[in-house]
Amino acid sequence: MNKLLTLGLMISIIMGCAEEKKQKKVEAETADNELVVQKDNTNTDVAFPIYDFDGFEPMLHKDDGKTYVVNFWATWCKPCIEEMPHFERIHSEQKNNNVEVILVSLDMPNMWKTRLEPFVENKNIQAEVVILDDPKQNDWIPKVSEEWGGGIPATLIYNKDKRTFYERGFTYEELNNELYKFIN
């Protein structure tokens, strides 16, 4: 009878694992609205700083006692847009608590004026927005994290003692829980 119980238990554990695996699959996805591709638009006066990876890299290695929440996103990435309010909420709740949120847009140059600027303005985004414009992705993706396969949303949380990379989306509670591993 004990054997039977053990077997039953094994089966439920196996089934449980299968469930968990299913939920783990969080992937980026394009937003439903089709792209307006505009040629010949100039990006002379984009509202956000534009970096190549070398220019951007110091933001991943600040050593000033603060905790940084660095979120990689794009306006065409639907799950990124869905989790954006959580990063905004963290920003407003924690900005006086030595936490800085940096929203790193991977939008393409022809989207900066047409999509990125209107999005940030319409949503009244308060956290810092920067543009990472470096097509040599195979070179810089591993420099952000060796674990990163290249999907977004992706988030790096770090301070001088600790850093963790997440290739996944977050709920507010999940993001807050992760952040509290850094600030407590």
Binding site: L4, E34, P135
Partner: protein
């Protein structure tokens, strides 16, 4: 005595069920979490092309290999690479390595990637290669594709289609004229010449498969 036999029988049955569940589970986990690595044998498939015909790798008698490319209508990166995918097919189909494009997205989540929309896009862009619909999303998890576009170069051998390269098409999605490393072309050329492929895997930002 009789009762005991029944219990014994049930225990045996349960062991069988557990073993089956475990075996099944291991395979599923391998497929979903990792997919193919370079060196693995890739499974064939039978998927519907935009022209309505079913297409399998085994249909291509004279092929020396395949460029299986998971791509879609809606992803900006996939769109940025459409012309380059056409060029790859034009260059390598005559050398025996045709492009086989597969749309892995679920149209109930991504209406822009439905079969009718695939037909439209293929006609609009003049796709010269099969553009297949992964109905029920059965193929992309086996391969371990995670984003579009995501390339799997296969070499046809006597023992099956072996995975030779996994990753991006080249190192500049923005501007084909600014490309320094043509990862896929280098990989196909090396494969056809019997040389070592380097690199065998590359990373790129892409749209997650939904």
């Amino acid at each position: 005595m009789k009762k005991r036999r029944i219990l014994g029988g049930s225990a045996l049955l349960l062991i069988f069920v557990a073993a089956f569940a475990m075996g099944f589970k291991v395979e599923t986990e391998h497929n979903l979490d990792k997919g193919y690595q370079v060196g693995d044998k890739a499974a064939d498939f039978s998927l519907k092309n935009v022209d309505g015909a079913m297409v399998s790798l085994s249909d291509f008698d004279g092929a020396r290999g395949f460029l299986v490319i998971f791509t879609c209508n809606t992803c900006p990166y996939a769109q940025a690479y459409e012309d380059r995918i056409i060029a790859l097919d034009a260059k390598y189909k005559p050398q025996g390595v045709p492009v086989i494009a597969i749309n892995p997205n679920d149209p109930s989540v991504k209406p822009g990637d439905g079969f009718a929309k695939m037909k439209e896009r293929a006609a609009e862009k003049g796709f010269i290669f099969p553009y297949l619909f992964d109905e029920g999303q059965k193929v992309y998890p086996k391969y371990g594709a995670t984003r579009t576009p995501h390339v799997f170069l296969l070499e046809k051998t006597a023992t099956g289609n072996m995975v030779k390269y996994i990753g991006a098409i080249d190192d500049n999605y923005q501007d084909a004229s600014q490309v320094d490393e043509t990862f896929v072309e280098n990989a196909v050329d090396a494969m056809l010449a019997g040389n070592e492929i380097n690199p065998k895997t590359t990373k790129a930002i892409g749209c997650g498969i939904k």
